[in-house]
Amino acid sequence: MRVAWVLGAFVALLVLLAVGLRLDPREVPSPLIGKPAPAFELPLLSAPDKTFSQKDMLGRVWVLNVWASWCAPCLVEHPQITRLSAAAVPVVGLNYKDERKDAIPWLTRNGNPFVASVFDGAGRIALDYGVYGVPETYVIDRQGVIRYKRIGPVTPEILKEKIEPLLRELNG
């Protein structure tokens, strides 16, 4: 009887730990999913006198990628972002707390997958998007609603299992 109790408690603890250890506390659930993409009107990285707004993308399914030249994981995910853009997905870059003199050569060096990159030097718009760890990637639908958010680099698995199916669904 006593053995059964102890064994029961042990198994319960084991289950609890198994579930608990699998959860990633770093994965902050974004409250922005299902909400309209926050409005912005920012200068282009390449042309400071021209501006770009999220409204310019209404009617299209698009991806917003927050990146910076100082951000090492951005380079890691770059092949995935490039693959998206090669598949004719419009990817807009949000250049986060960067300097033009660093960001523009970064694109020349590593290839520019963006239909446009906007320049958020102070990181004020990124704050509206709840950015806390670059890179971050958002999938936004035709109505301008955020459908998916990835914090951290887009891995080939995430691209294949999450982002590409979602894009197909939204475009279908």
């Binding site: 506390p25 902050v28 659930p29 409250p31 990181g123 509206d128 709840g130 806390y132 760890g133």
Partner: protein
């Protein structure tokens, strides 16, 4: 040297600009989680994002917004996760009630045990006789 002194002086002047506001910023920031280093409060963290968010808190409080407004602003962007004191709602009921449920369960077990212990030593007449004999 003169330059350094000037910088120091400016720093002090800036910090003393409005002690009441600074206190509010500090109090509110210590209720908020820094998302970059998740076990630090916004007040303690020196991560660039924490600095940005503290400035945001300061700016908004300065413009006349209440603590509640600032918290709502941050929750709308980063979720309940920024709060060190999660709100009571359906998904967090277990978090708040859990310890009390465990306490009640523990008290229940304790009660069962005590009851069993108290009931146990009932001796029959034969046993009493034997015990008396042994004690002689």
């Amino acid at each position: 040297m003169a330059r350094l002194l000037l910088v120091l002086f400016c720093g002090i002047a800036l910090a003393q600009e409005d002690p009441a506001l600074e206190k509010r910023v500090r109090d509110l920031s210590s209720e908020l989680r820094c998302l970059v280093c998740q076990n630090q409060t916004l007040a303690d963290s020196s991560a660039p994002l924490a600095v940005d968010l503290r400035n945001q808190v300061r700016e908004q409080l300065k413009s006349g917004k209440s603590e509640r407004d600032v918290v709502d602003f941050l929750v709308a962007r980063y979720g309940d996760f920024v709060l060190y004191r999660p709100p009571l709602k359906a998904s967090t009921v277990l978090l708040w009630a859990g310890p009390f449920i465990l306490l009640a369960f523990g008290l229940f077990l304790l009660f069962l045990r005590i009851k069993r212990k108290v009931r146990a030593p009932e001796l029959s007449d034969a046993e009493r006789a034997r015990a008396a004999k042994l004690l002689e």
